[in-house]
Structure formats: structure tokens, C-alpha cells
Symmetry: C2
Subunit: 135 residues, 2 copies
DNA sequence: CTGTATCCGGAGCGATACTG
DNA sequence: CAGTATCGCTCCGGATACAG
């Protein structure tokens, strides 16, 4: 199968330590793949956005979490924080080149989920119906 | 910039509801992008694996979490569970076609993290050194 | 407007012990 | 070997109030 060959190549490029407990990517992964990380990165793809803009755009996030995740991604060099010394202050967030390259991967992932939502839901219903209708 | 154009196209294909609170992909994302989801899927890329094999391969995961995450991905139709009626019983997990297509995205993401670990670590050190050396 | 500080409930997760 | 059940702890995450 061509598909198998294809992604086995990708897999083969993964360093051996990817599954190690102390793999340095684990913390970053935890943030980016955390509850809000991917959505924040993706939200900045169309262009820079203000704090309040993100707060509105990403439905359901609290100020605390937005602030917290933003601090992380800024620290990782994925997002740039630009402060306009005006009154009231305006803070603009935008993707760095590094963040843009990550955004491509994340958008691909989000696209996959969107595209395969029907299949995923169908599988769940099949699973739930087959085994434990009581639960 | 060519890069911008490129992933803006990808982004444009995302449904408008991707950022909605009730987006149906959120629960699945939560699992797959949870602490172990991606690693489990990725671990099955080279081929089917047994429970104990996964337990060893994915460093640091507990039986409870492995079992729990496996149940989820099976329910989502991403992984197939095959029980050999032998004594002692042998259970083999393998990716479904749906799971394989997801695995491609996840492997790409893992690859990105592996490839950009130096840049990410450098950014962190820069950030930490610049502002709060006391902490 | 853009955050930070505090409190608090619940989910996630690990360790351990137990079952088939 | 392949799980399930229970306990306990940590940390995530929301609501609210406060600060620059």
C-alpha cells in the first residue's frame, strides 16, 4: 500500500528518543497540544491580533488561560508580543517565523479533524451501540 | 511571502466553527492531543503491537492511562483491537485506515517538534535570561 | 485595555492492589 | 498477559476581584 510506505518514511525520520520520558519536546507538546494551545496558534494565522480579539475569537476561553497560554508560546518563541505605549495600552500578538511553520502543521491537523468528524462520530455510535447500550 | 500564502490556503479550508465552544472535534482533539494520545497513535505506525509492547515502548505511561487512552482511540475507530483466544490471552492493537491517515498528521507534528527543539530551547533561554533572572 | 492574584471545584494521572 | 478498581494527589481551568 502506497500510503503505508509514505508515512513510514515520515516516521522513520523521528529521532529514537521521541518516546522517552525525558524527551525535551514533551513540555512543549504538552502546551501546544494542551486544551487551548493549538487554537491560539491557529487563530493567529490570518494575521496579528489583540488580546481582546483573541478572547472573543476563541470561544469559551477565560482571560486567565488565554494570558497563561500566550505567555508560554511567547516564551517558546512561537509568538511575538508587541506593546504599543499608548493609553490605554494596546498589545498585539503575531506569529514568528517559527510559529508560522508550526501553524502549518497544526492547521493540517485541525483540517483533518474537521474533514473526518463524520467518520469519527459514526465510529463512536457503532462502538456504543455494539457493546453497552445500558451505559 | 510564499509561506504565508501557502498556509493561509490551508487555514481557509477550516470550517468557520473550528473555534466554537461546541465544536464536535473538541472532545476528540482533547483525547488525541492529550498527554498520551499522539504517542500511542505514533507508536502503532510501524505496525501492530501488543499491550505490553506499548507499555514498554511509551516510556513513563501507566497501565491505567494506556488502557484508558486505548479504549478511547478504539472507540473513535482509529485503532483496532484484536483478541487472540489463547491462554494467556494476547491482544493486538493496530491502526485502522482512519487511524493511519491521522498518524500521518501526528507524525508530521512530532517531526516538527523534533526538528525545532534547538530553536525552541534557545527561545526559552533567551526569554528567561532577558526578564527575570531571579526566577 | 491588558493583564495579575486568589480561591476553589473537578479532571487527569500515577501507584497499588486485585481479577480473568 | 491484559486489563479493572480504588485511593490520593496534583494541576488545570473557571469565576471573581484587583492592578497598571
Amino acid at each position: 500500500m502506497a500510503v503505508s510506505e509514505q508515512f513510514k518514511d515520515v516516521f522513520a525520520q523521528l529521532p529514537a528518543g521521541s518516546f522517552d520520558k525525558d524527551c525535551p519536546t514533551r513540555p512543549v507538546m504538552a502546551q501546544v497540544t494542551g486544551r487551548w494551545g493549538a487554537l491560539i496558534i491557529a487563530a493567529l494565522v490570518p494575521g496579528p491580533m489583540r488580546f481582546s480579539g483573541l478572547h472573543q475569537h476563541i470561544d469559551g476561553i477565560s482571560q486567565k488561560m488565554l494570558s497563561q497560554y500566550l505567555k508560554s508560546v511567547v516564551r517558546y518563541g512561537l509568538v511575538e508580543r508587541l506593546v504599543e505605549p499608548t493609553v490605554p495600552p494596546q498589545v498585539t500578538y503575531s506569529l514568528t517565523p517559527l510559529g508560522q511553520s508550526l501553524a502549518q502543521q497544526l492547521c493540517a491537523l485541525l483540517s483533518w479533524f474537521s474533514a473526518n468528524t463524520p467518520a469519527l462520530e459514526a465510529a463512536q455510535q457503532r462502538y456504543d451501540a455494539a457493546d453497552s447500550p445500558a451505559r
